[in-house]
Symmetry: C3
Subunit: 377 residues, 3 copies
């Protein structure tokens, strides 16, 4: 990591080692950043691994490049050196990690922060200006709480975490190590859980015979959230995303799950290890995601449903049933891929079907007339 | 309510009275919390009202329990006492209210808050560290403004409100009593209201004959929001939800309406009393919800539409028309339940329909051949 | 603009000139606000341009009004003066601009703000209480950073901007002139970009033959965001909306684009000039919107897709393909209007189709019987 003011310098040799990839040319060429060949400066390494990027190498200002293994030698002629990699996006991961800028905040508690005297902030951690750390909260080694973030009473933040500005970590929420929380994310709001003294309108079964609402929600009682939120190690949660606390027990986001912006994780959900949840996804109360589940943007999952390990849910899918492990669900309402593709194909056949029906009708009528006039039968 | 540090102690007798339910066994047994029997400690009451929870009573550490009326006596054998209730979720509401922890913030204005000298903060209210209270704002008795929240100029906050960290109450917004606003909710942003000097592309009628956009939105004029937001008594609004101010007049959320996280209530909307609005719902401009309307997660309602009293809108429903009172709408586009269930059933019949069409075609052709060869007609 | 405490006074003559419209009656009548005739006070101008508002003029307390050109003279009889306008919503734009209240914050840096010594804040700009301005950040003339907002390290904010409370402007983000950012909007969070060492489950092609997930995302590598966000002049971004930084290069929102609340603009997107993006819209990574594109609320666009100039996307549309310029797309999955309207019409014909099929089946069987019994053929 480099800090915001002085970027890190690396040689092409060091880059090749980090990428575990083959180097050609000047191993000592030093660079302080990476960019697309069309934008890269002379002190940066050009990254030309995507199709279409290679042709920009001819005019790049960069002296060195990272290219894909199958790059044609003539495209590399003008370079002082290059590194050839196998999997483009993995190389992108390594290179962007090498050159990522760090937050411009040193260790220690900023004089304009508020840290409750009963809180325990590790000496190597940092708490930024105008941040709040509540009673009995604990912050681990090297964790950074950026300006104006909140760590609630009795909350626990592990080591090497990065908590961006405006993040709200509610009272008693527990967070593991190396967790990244992006700006204005909220962990530990109350679950949305209400009940009516008599069975309410939201509890009605959906059927053709129950098309009229007969219940009246004249009184609404809150089910308070006594539980908490647990975020395990290596989780990342996006900007303005919300993870509600459990009614009793814990809402859990397991190890290494990655959650994008504006995602809603309702009370009592369990998000499995290594899940990937894209922007604006919504999980209703008590949803359980297995491990390695992928949810596309804006997908929604109804309450108490279970999504099995390794399942993939398409973008904007509306999931109203359990999804088995290793299965891909898409569409509205969501279903298995073969079924939904067939459904779409059937729909596309409808115009022809309607034309054929008209044709059949005419032919039937003609046959009937002929039989009638022939007195057949 | 109990504070974060020292939990409240209650006897089983007190719990039975609060639940208005039948007590058996030791009325004097004291507990300081409630949890599922599998997690409950010796100093907590086990809550075993959901199916499946009863069997955990055998091994629970708790000495007393709250169970459903139909619990088998043998399941309760090991307990020092128990209370039997009728409606499980109502009991959950009462029990969680009894034991909910309060924010760890006493009354008064924190020295690191900013409160404008012209603001009026009740002596029993509290304003947390790094919170902002603008000119001429008023905060009522016992209301709590938690750290880093904002109460804008001329805003009014009633009594017994709870305003979580990062909430933004815009200038002139008026809020009633006992309102709960969760972290980072925003009340009073400008409405999204723009106009083009000539009729713009968004004003075009949707029809098969108007498939090409002919307007060009070369200039966009803002319609400024002079109005405000009014939140009535007992409303609850979730984390990162937004309620925009009206162009003129007021956007209103009426008494006891409950709104989940990441919900958008656009300018000039009216949300009726006791409405329940789940996560990520979007109401476009000038939508009017009657009283006791329920909207499932991710549902959306087009602008200027009216949803009648007691209507229920399913999760992810895309509402493009008015919804009559007491009616359930589901689906995309949303429609009444019987119609949408029939639609789905028809779709499921399509594969058979397509097979029958092929069969009919063959039989028709055969009939035509036989008639032709017989010279019929 | 007027400030929150003392509203601006304008004469009817000045209003007529601002509206470029015909005045009748007392040009010197002075007002300090505008409202619907049913609510307008004696010191306000009644705005009666929408159908249905005219009839409220008879009982209005206002002495002057703005009406549509075709207003019947008898409706205006009781007024001291009126101005007649052509396009109602354009008049609304002008009038609301004239009377909009300004934030109650004068120029200068509030003593309870934190401004890094290396930051450059123009003398005419204002930084509110508890706001944070990071190292080397620059804030232009007359820009207002409201209480508790964040301007990150090396960020640039142009002139005449309005940054509401809780906005997070990330490190190195660049913002033009006259930009309005509503409460808790986040610019510059990391892009949601991850990769697995071997091809992962999210990279699988969707086909009927690939219905089972075979990849296991056992390891997830982050692609860090080295790029930034660029917001051009006259852009407005809604409350709790998020614009992520690019992996390399820039995520760009071009001149005069308007973005509503809770919108997600992912990494590497380009939003064209004058685009109008309604609430809860989601753009996946690397989406490119042309100029003047309109997106209805809750619409979603899949990654790397291109939406052409002047295209209009309906509310809740799920866009899974490129959209040509000047084309209207609606529905799930989204398609051109004529196609989707036809599709809906075909679906509505299904019940009749199913009845006809039964009828055809009977008639076929009868024909077959008659031919069989007649020994035809």
């Amino acid at each position: 990591m480099t800090d915001g003011a002085t970027p890190r310098m690396l040689t092409l040799g060091e880059i090749a080692r980090a990428l575990d990839a083959r180097l050609s040319g000047d191993a000592s060429a030093a660079v302080c950043g990476v960019d697309h060949p069309a934008r890269a400066r002379a002190d940066q390494v050009a990254l030309a691994v995507e199709p279409g990027a290679l042709k920009h190498l001819a005019a790049t200002k960069a002296r060195v490049a990272v290219v894909s293994e199958d790059a044609a030698p003539e495209a590399l002629a003008g370079l002082a050196g290059h590194v050839a990699v196998k999997r483009a996006r993995v190389a992108l991961s390594v290179l962007t990690r090498l050159f990522q800028p760090a937050p411009a905040q040193g260790p220690g508690v900023h004089p304009q922060a508020f840290v409750d005297p009963s809180a325990a902030v590790d000496a190597t951690a940092s708490v930024g200006a105008l941040a709040y750390v509540g009673p009995r909260a604990r912050i681990g080694a090297r964790s950074q709480v950026l300006p104006q973030a909140t760590v609630g009473a009795d909350a626990v933040l592990g080591q090497d975490c990065l908590v961006h500005s405006g993040v709200r970590i509610g009272d008693r929420v527990r967070i593991g190590d190396r967790v990244v929380l992006h700006a204005n994310a909220c962990l530990g709001a109350d679950g949305f859980s209400f009940v009516t003294p008599e069975p309410g309108s939201a509890e009605m079964p959906l059927s053709a015979n129950h098309s009229k609402v007969t219940a009246r929600n004249d009184t609404i009682l809150k089910i308070h959230s006594l539980g908490t939120v647990v975020i395990e190690d290596d989780v990342e949660i996006g900007a303005c995303s919300t993870v509600d606390r459990a009614t009793l027990g814990e809402t859990v986001v397991k190890r290494s799950a990655k959650i994008d912006n504006l995602v809603q994780i309702a009370h009592n959900c369990v998000v499995g290890e290594n899940c990937l949840i894209a922007g604006q996804v919504g999980l209703s109360g008590s949803v359980r995601l297995g491990d390695r589940v992928v949810l596309g943007g804006q997908a929604g999952v109804g309450d108490h449903l279970k999504i099995g390990d390794d399942a993939v849910i398409g973008g904007a899918a509306a999931v109203g049933q359990d999804v088995p492990a290793e299965t891909i669900f898409i569409g509205y309402p969501a279903g298995p891929v073969p079924e939904k593709l067939q459904e779409n194909m059937n729909l596309r056949r409808l115009p022809r079907l309607l034309r054929e029906m008209m044709d059949f009708g005419k032919r039937l009528k003609m046959l009937e007339r002929r039989l009638a006039s022939s007195g057949g039968g």
